[in-house]
Amino acid sequence: MAKTRIKAKEKNGVVTVKTLSKHPMLSYVEAKRAKKEVNFITHFMAEANGKVVYEVSTSQFLSKDPYMKFKFTGAKKGDKVTITWVDLKGNKDVSTKKIR
């Protein structure tokens, strides 16, 4: 559960979310050079109150421990934000945090 750290703050109806996901994020070339298995996050999604509020298909261009920052409306303090990501190998991580 310590895979993704989340900070979520609501101000004037806009929720700002910052996340840090622990992941080696090795591109094909990097993995070959480091003699490790290639793996990187391929899909990153945030949900609040049953709706998807942020979604991105990512590729090998992001570097280690990717930091994401995004804003959305339609949620208030006390609601939960759920972050889900999937990587190339099929690993999945789900983390939740209350909006402050």
Partner: protein, 304 residues
């Protein structure tokens, strides 16, 4: 006759000595004030002073990319004080500082018992000492850096010395730096004797001497060159340069000590760097730390 002369000269020199006890850092103080004056002048308005300080920078970059009106204490965060886009990235990383766990690990190392029952806490009962090193040991007549002091503590207690660049040394220093920052202490280097002043002067000469096959001095990049861009990054200034160590450098992906960065820098000048616990390195750090006197300790920190 000779003995009388000798006695007289000894007495007068003693009186002279004690009167001037506080003046051994007079030159160093002046150097520091001049340095502050220079940096405040340089970053007052980079766009306006283009012809004075930034001859080779494109005008657009000077207008949009640089912060202005910077004062002495602003330079604590290095080049992120004036480089606007780098500053944004820096603040983003500080949301989730990569060194947070290391501070706790450092605290564990602080209290961990050696085989003989002592611990690092025995050698350093007060952990808020980040701003006091390097210091001039008047008995041994040499400059001692924090790294050397820690290793001497380990040796004295029959423990193995640590690598001075990374690993446990960096982790422990992270705890010391954090404790010092929490106590809101500042860099406080002293020059108590003539020998100390000479060590300072040697460190100062080393800093300003051109070296290596690239014929660069430290000043070329971090005084005359501070704020100018090398490839994609703007060079950092000497002012506030050593207050934020140990540093998690994104290029390393890990925490490193001041010595780790310094030998890397000297290597970049094209010369074989001096050993990390050598007299040259110690005196260089002594000079550099004095130049940041009065600035708050803000280690550990993140840099690119």
């Amino acid at each position: 006759m000779l003995t009388r002369l000798l006695k007289a000269s000894v007495l007068t020199s003693f009186a002279f000595f004690s009167l001037n006890a506080t003046q051994f850092d007079a030159q160093a103080q002046k150097d520091k004030e001049e340095l502050v004056k220079y940096f405040e002048a340089k970053f007052q308005d980079p766009y306006k002073d283009k012809n004075r300080f930034f001859l080779y920078s494109p005008e657009e970059e000077l207008k949009d990319g640089y912060e202005k009106g910077l004062k002495h204490m602003d330079f604590g965060i290095g080049s992120y004080s004036y480089a606007k886009d780098a500053r944004e990235q820096y603040e983003a990383i500080k949301e989730f500082p990569p060194y947070e766990d290391k501070i706790e690990d450092g605290e564990d190392l602080y209290t961990k018992e050696f085989a003989n029952g002592n611990s690092l806490k025995t050698c350093f009962p007060d952990p808020t000492i980040g701003g006091d090193y390097p210091y001039f040991d008047t008995k041994r007549k040499e400059v001692i850096s924090l790294t050397t002091a820690i290793n001497e503590c380990l040796e004295a207690n029959n423990e193995k010395k640590w690598n001075v660049k990374k690993g446990k040394m960096a982790t422990f220093q992270a705890f010391l730096a954090y404790s010092t920052a929490e106590a809101q202490k500042k860099m406080n280097i002293k020059i108590p004797t003539k020998e100390a002043q000479e060590a300072y002067e040697r460190g100062k000469e080393y800093y300003y001497t051109q070296r290596g096959y690239l014929k660069l001095s430290c000043a070329t990049c971090h005084i005359q060159g501070a704020g100018q861009r090398v490839r994609n990054e703007k060079l950092s200034p000497l002012l506030g340069q050593v207050t934020h160590f140990p540093v998690h450098r994104l290029k390393w992906g890990s925490l490193g000590t001041l010595e780790r960065r310094m030998s890397g820098c000297i290597k970049d000048q094209g010369q074989v760097p001096p050993k990390n616990d050598s007299k040259q390195m110690h005196e260089l750090l002594y000079f550099m730390a004095y130049m940041s006197n009065g600035m708050p300790i803000d280690g550990p920190d993140v840099r690119k």
